[in-house]
């Protein structure tokens, strides 16, 4: 579109900000590492254990999580024509929570099979993936029987309620220790990933990203409403499926590897629309990617409280920092852009 030229400068600024924040994020932590040491390790001329095995994977995870959640939020908001939609409206988080709750708390209630599972990082990842996949599959099967896209939104919310209820029942019967472990998972965490886990995460993330890029044209057509989109030759059911698959791959793996991270998916698209003031997804998608990554890096840097041994729950920081920003933007512009 003709408008894309005027956004070039904004994109260049965002990319520079992202790079600076990436270095800052790697440099800050319980021990501050000087910038030149960070630079040397990243370029391979020096070997710093903390940077290569701890800080770098965490910074990359932050970028993947922030951009992935932002993009899946954008996809859902356009598909459902609803500014309150986020990556988790399809029941992905609730499914993941259910899977994790079953592994952590299910042993005391159900015994047997679940008790034999080791509560390791991988068992949580696998149970979260399985849980979100099963819930999503059910939502997909049910929604293929409905014509109205809005019905999918409600079906997703209903499944969320059902799984939340099951988790409540499980928590009621579990010990304080198990409960605490479950709550800790719910805080979300960016720092737990090893390189081999990160590789799998990045691979699935990339597939999701490709699906999102492939639906840019469909998303723009959907801005006119479904009936107009149909009259323009868009295959609604197929596009809807691709958009849902993209969202579930992105949001599903993120939840599996980093926990249910709130707020980012809902807020980043709004933040981006306020700054870029366009509905064109060819602009919005890369912009949401950059904003998501930037905000997540900032939140992570704050969460690990530089120069202390404390790490705050990332989930609390995203809302604590992000919500006032969105409120401020909306009040300042006095107009909701959607």
């Amino acid at each position: 579109m003709v408008t894309s030229k005027s956004y070039k400068l904004s994109f260049i600024i965002l990319i520079i900000v992202l790079i600076i924040l990436f270095f800052a994020n790697v440099s800050l932590g319980s021990i501050s590492i000087p910038f030149n040491t960070v630079f040397n390790s990243l370029t391979g001329s020096a070997d710093n254990y903390i940077i290569l095995n701890y800080r770098l994977p965490k910074a990359i995870t932050a970028i993947l999580v922030g951009s992935g959640l932002g993009i899946s939020g954008l996809l859902m908001q356009t598909l459902f024509r609803n500014p309150l939609a986020g990556p988790f409206v399809l029941g992905i988080t609730s499914g993941a929570s259910l899977g994790v709750a079953l592994v952590i708390m299910g042993s005391s209630v159900l015994g047997g099979f679940f008790a034999t599972l080791l509560i390791s990082k991988w068992s949580l990842v696998i149970s979260a993936s399985l849980g979100s996949f099963l819930v999503l599959l059910t939502v997909l099967i049910v929604s293929s029987r409905v014509r109205d896209t809005m019905a999918i939104l409600i079906i997703g919310l209903m499944f969320g309620s059902i799984t939340a209820a099951v988790v409540s029942v499980l928590s009621y019967f579990s010990s304080a220790e198990e409960l605490q472990q479950y709550i800790f998972w719910g805080f979300g965490s960016l720092g737990d990933l090893q390189w081999n886990e990160l590789k799998i995460f990045a691979l699935i993330y990339s597939v999701g990203l490709l699906f999102s890029i492939a639906s840019i044209k469909a998303l723009n057509t959907l801005l006119l409403g479904e009936n107009y989109a149909k009259s323009l030759g868009l295959n609604i059911k197929q596009s809807r499926l691709i958009i849902i698959i993209a969202t579930s791959l992105l949001a599903g793996t993120i939840t599996a590897f980093a926990g249910p991270i709130a707020f980012i998916g809902l807020a980043i698209p709004h933040l981006t629309r306020q700054v870029f003031n366009t509905s064109n997804h060819k602009i919005l998608l890369p912009a949401v990617f950059l904003f998501g990554a930037i905000i997540m890096l900032i939140c992570d840097s704050i969460a690990q409280l530089p120069n202390t041994d404390y790490t705050l729950p990332i989930n609390a920081i995203t809302s604590l920092i992000g919500a006032p920003v969105v409120v401020w933007l909306l009040v300042r512009k006095k107009k909701m852009v959607f």
Binding site: M1, K217, G225, N227, Y228, S231, L232, S279, V337
Partner: protein, 264 residues
């Protein structure tokens, strides 16, 4: 007769329309025989609930027909693939667009979607066609405005421009004059008349503005309880088609002024 030599764009034969569920078939209208020719402006009129919307939905392949045949450019409607149909038939619907944050140019440019590549990039040719559509509908001044800044009348012109940009031989509009004041009703219909003449496109619209339609259209399709007639306005008046259109307790059709009058 010069008209007979013109190409027929859309034609129906013994078409019946309505709703079909597993057990019952609810026929709303049957025995519909219409032919829309190239470059004509045609209005579809009739009382509320008579089946105008159902007919338009059937002609645009939104809902299936019950019986009979529909052909666009001599090819049966059901044989068109979705993208193929989007290149011969464009719509202006009563519903408003989902995102009012689109600029006028962006919205009109979305009419080029059936022709653009996988990511929707506009070629030089696409941009030319979009600009031409904007010029033909006299909305150059609005080009860079956002849709939420427009009045209903302006937005309707933009939607017509979008349909033009889709570059189809047939444009179908569902009640394009609703919510508009008297001046803008006349303006939009006059614009449609001009477009049909200048671009050679066939334009069919449903409307309750019978008085205006009689003055501006080449043809009218009049739907009533047991018939569906298509003819020139003069012929229809002579046939008395408008006399039985509504219950005659409140308004009557005046043959001399060619308009409806409230009974005294």
């Amino acid at each position: 007769m010069t008209k007979e030599t013109k190409n027929i764009i859309l034609e129906t034969k013994n078409l019946s329309i309505g709703y079909k569920s597993k057990k019952t078939e609810n026929t709303i209208a049957s025995n519909i025989n219409i032919a829309l020719k190239q470059g004509e402006l045609i209005a579809l009129v009739g009382a509320n609930g008579i089946g105008k919307s159902t007919l338009l939905r059937t002609l645009t392949n939104v809902q299936p027909k019950l019986n009979g045949a529909i052909a666009i450019n001599a090819k049966p409607l059901q044989d068109y693939a979705q993208v193929e149909l989007a290149k011969v038939l464009s719509l202006v619907l009563t519903e408003t667009v989902s995102s009012k944050n689109l600029s006028v140019f962006e919205l009109v440019a979305l009419g080029r979607q059936p022709y653009t590549n996988w990511v929707g990039n506009l070629s030089k040719n696409d941009i030319d066609i979009v600009n031409k559509a904007i010029a033909q509908t006299n909305i150059e001044g609005l080009k860079h405005k956002k849709c939420f800044e427009l009045s209903d009348g302006q937005l309707q012109k933009v939607m017509v421009a979008r349909a033009l940009a889709q570059d189809t031989s047939l444009i179908i509009l569902d009640e394009p004059t609703t919510h508009l004041d008297m001046y803008h009703k006349a303006y939009i219909l006059k614009l449609l008349q001009k477009l049909a003449k200048e671009t050679g496109k066939t334009i069919l619209f449903s409307s309750h503005e019978i008085d205006l339609a009689i003055q501006l259209c080449d043809n009218l399709i009049v739907m009533s309880h047991n018939s569906c007639m298509q003819n020139t306005p003069e012929q229809l008046i002579n046939q008395g088609a408008f006399n039985t259109l509504f219950p005659n307790d409140l308004i009557v059709f005046d043959q001399t002024t060619k308009s409806f009058r409230v009974k005294k």
